[in-house]
Subunit: 326 residues, 2 copies
Amino acid sequence: MINSHFLRNIPTKSDIKDAHLRIKEAIHKTPVLESSAINKEMGCRIYFKCENLQKVGAFKYRGASNALLSLNKEDLKNGVATHSSGNHAAALALAARSSGARAYIVMPETAPEIKKKVVASYGAEIIYCAPTLEARETTLEGVIAKTGAIFVHPYNNYTIIAGQATAAKEIIEEIGNSDFLLAPVGGGGLLSGSVLSAEYFGDKISVIGCEPKGADDAFRSIRDGVIYPSVNPKTISDGLLTSLGDKTFNILRDRLHLIMTVEEHSIITAMRMIWERMKIIIEPSSAVPFAAIMENREVFTGKTVSVILSGGNVDLESLPWSTANR
Amino acid sequence: MINSHFLRNIPTKSDIKDAHLRIKEAIHKTPVLESSAINKEMGCRIYFKCENLQKVGAFKYRGASNALLSLNKEDLKNGVATHSSGNHAAALALAARSSGARAYIVMPETAPEIKKKVVASYGAEIIYCAPTLEARETTLEGVIAKTGAIFVHPYNNYTIIAGQATAAKEIIEEIGNSDFLLAPVGGGGLLSGSVLSAEYFGDKISVIGCEPKGADDAFRSIRDGVIYPSVNPKTISDGLLTSLGDKTFNILRDRLHLIMTVEEHSIITAMRMIWERMKIIIEPSSAVPFAAIMENREVFTGKTVSVILSGGNVDLESLPWSTANR
């Protein structure tokens, strides 16, 4: 079900400004942090936009809030629905609760207990399904048919994209233009929002998408000009397993500077370095852009680089460098 | 050796203002973060001042910077010295390097390798000694006699205290007055600076020192009006093992609202909750004030509470909740 209150076209500059005004009171204006030690070691100046410190621990709350706050009471009477086992599920659940709306979240029954608990704690109704894309979609269709809830796609939705774009907008407002702006790419919601904000609010900022080599469907899709599905992705970055959608692809195709792909060991090293030096908790997906800087130092030497740290939801019992996992 | 450029009396309002101006470019203005989830669970509104995100990962960099920047070139020609295996050692080493001065750090040979590495990485000279207070002091005296370096005490120094006071000053400037301001107490540098800033820059802010029950020498010292040494302290909070000095005691005795002591299990629970909910890394000492809120909810219900998160230096290989430590 397409709702008339969602954007129908690629977000314009004023769509993103409107989104920002709409969600400003609902979200955290997250800090931009710097580490002299990291700058020194990398030979460039890096500004980290800490969306791991966003509500629900991820930038996803921006898009979800924009979606919920774009709908009126009548739209919301049957609630909202999505399928996700990740940060979008939690974000939609909390945004719905804040708007007094019901949320139906289709999750694979194999999802980690901690994720189920988080979504349930925000008052959402969880509908379990088999852990396949087909089961997710069929189950979601059933839920929507039965409840009349509005489907809020995790990324292939222009209203969601306009919400995610506000993170890059805030960076530019706080630190001005940087030579580069790096964001991870999974479904492309954050990245496509970032290229739009760089274009509208910045000047000559080259936006680079960053992706694990083991899940490089976006890299291949942009290179070849077709959307490849994400088949059997192999990466610790559990937020980056999905493929681009037609809307995110459309935005990225003409505007993106480059996609860099990185090795798994770089992701773990980058993640640990940010934990140790910056004292903030980021999830593996968030470490991918910094891993790209580590793997391509010559590109960034002497430059200013903005990096969006996308989220901080990790299982503290099972860290990638802990002895138990070696 | 007492240096004439260090403060000789309890810092005045203008001493703290001067300290802030002096160090402003050298330090991070750390963010004040809030968590709606934690506020809801605790029934009060908590502002966390993130000194774990300060340079060297601890508020100690404020005091060390103020000390180094209070000395002139002639004072610094023989360098500075201290004994510490903790955050003050790293802070003094980095502050000295930033001022182009040598730093001599006396450390027990049993100090964790990671702490030795950090101090060495800032270019300080490490002098090892036996792991007793007596050996530390004798070794330090020898170093000072030989080098002519200026001793910078970790907390019992009014210039250090004026530097630490700037953290509370920044909170008050950012969020205004809160009903309570909580800080951990070890030697009392941060706490005594906080009570001064609350008095000078705030209005009716009750400052509460927070201490592990297993290292409650400050609690007993304030209660009985004498400085008790910290004998065989037993706590995971490795930053809070020291006893008050005469200078910190003098400040705290007449001005402190209260000291709350907390159980070890509360410290671990509090630490984990801040990691999980706020996505920031804090060391056990930093969790002590939040543990005090958890143990005394009725005191804080409906109130505004500022909490100084003192530092974030932990060994990521050995977390208190990891299976290996159970």
